[in-house]
């Protein structure tokens, strides 16, 4: 959407709503990635420790 503005971009309510949706989705994906790599680390370390002690 294009418009002339003098003091920065002024977003419409719809634009703000969609930006909020995108931000929320990105936050959820980043949070899921943190959990994902945490799980990988724990499981890999657990397997390595088991191998060491057996």
């Amino acid at each position: 959407m294009m418009r002339e503005v003098k003091n920065g971009v002024v977003l419409s309510e719809e634009e703000k709503r969609r930006r909020r949706q995108r931000s929320l989705a990105l936050a959820l994906v980043l949070g899921a990635l943190v959990l994902l790599f945490y799980a990988i680390s724990i499981i890999k370390q657990g397997a390595a420790l088991n191998a060491l002690h057996s």
Partner: protein, 317 residues
């Protein structure tokens, strides 16, 4: 490449001011071709389950997720490259890029990030053999199929079909870090299934492909040659579909289902071959297209169910 979206942006430039995106998370999800992703998840999971050894359940889940995201990245990059074609075809003109909801540049960045992320995640979670296969699949789908073959030869989907056939091999490799005869047979089934499936679609969508100047077989070689090729590939597919029963990957139930469903495929392919009148042939092609999806889903579904039952019985014993 002259794009409908470029034209939209150019029209927009006649007005001053910045461009603000109105895309939603759903538009980005649509870039991943979720329906293709679901088939990839299903076949990759079957490949993983058929492997003689299985990783930790969480690692297995993350591996399948990474394969799905990798397939989604390939779909996204395909939409980035083919946006001009998509804008011309009725089936694809409402996709996020031709519809103007997402720019090509955004799709390129999103696709590359997802591709790199999925390959690295699969490498760290499972092994680098599986990650290498996933990277090769994405490369093959984008560079070899989309950029090179799709617009230059009617054999595009025959060779390009290799990308769609690799997910069960990746799933198997995620569990074993190996490629075996068993996983190669799963590859062969999807590889041989792709031409009759895609050409059946191309027959009743041939005007779309002609408008977009994509040399699909019905456009480049004609409808008669396409019907013949569909029959020939189906004749090769049916015995290949039954091979897992001979190799011990599938049991008796699988063998019977593969032969029964194979007979259905052959019947529909032969009926299509005999239809010379265009409307009747389109109808026969639609039936074959629909049945081909059921055929592949059933074969992999039975393999999966047989495996799960065997594991349950093994656990009970």
């Amino acid at each position: 490449m002259a794009l409908a979206t470029d034209a939209l942006v150019e029209r927009g430039r006649s007005k001053p001011g910045p461009q603000v995106s109105l895309s939603t998370p759903g538009d980005f999800f649509a870039l991943l071709k979720p329906r293709v992703m679901s088939l990839v998840v299903f076949t990759a999971f079957t490949g993983l389950m058929l492997a003689p050894s299985r990783p930790h359940p969480v690692i297995a889940f993350i591996s399948i997720l990474a394969i799905a995201v990798g397939a989604g990245a390939a779909g996204c990059l395909n939409m980035w490259w083919d946006a001009d074609i998509d804008a011309l075809m009725s089936r694809t003109r409402n996709r996020p890029i031709p519809a103007g909801r997402i720019t090509r540049e955004t799709a390129l960045g999103f696709g590359l990030m997802m591709a790199a992320g999925s390959v690295i995640t699969l490498g760290l979670a499972a092994n680098w053999m599986a990650a290498g296969l996933l990277a090769f699949t994405i490369f093959f789908y984008i560079v070899v199929y989309s950029m090179w073959l799709k617009r230059s030869t009617p054999q595009n989907i025959v060779i390009g079909g290799a990308a769609g056939a690799l997910p069960p091999v990746i799933g198997y490799a995620a569990a074993t870090a190996d490629v075996t005869l068993g996983s190669a047979v799963l590859f062969a089934i999807i590889f041989l299934w792709t031409p009759p499936h895609s050409w059946a679609l191309a027959l009743f969508r041939s005007q779309d492909y002609a408008r977009a100047k994509v040399p699909m077989l019905p456009v480049a070689a004609g409808r008669d040659a396409t019907r013949m090729q569909i029959l020939v590939y189906t004749l090769v597919l049916v015995p290949a579909g039954a091979t897992p029963a001979l190799l011990g990957l599938g049991g008796l139930a699988y063998g019977l289902v593969a032969l029964l469903m194979g007979a259905g495929m052959l019947h529909l392919a032969f009926r299509l071959y005999c239809q010379h009148e265009e409307k009747a042939a389109d109808l026969a092609a639609k039936k074959l297209f629909g049945f081909s999806i059921l055929y592949l889903s059933t074969l992999f579904g039975v393999l999966l169910v047989e495996r799960i039952v065997a594991l349950v019985l093994q656990g009970a014993g």
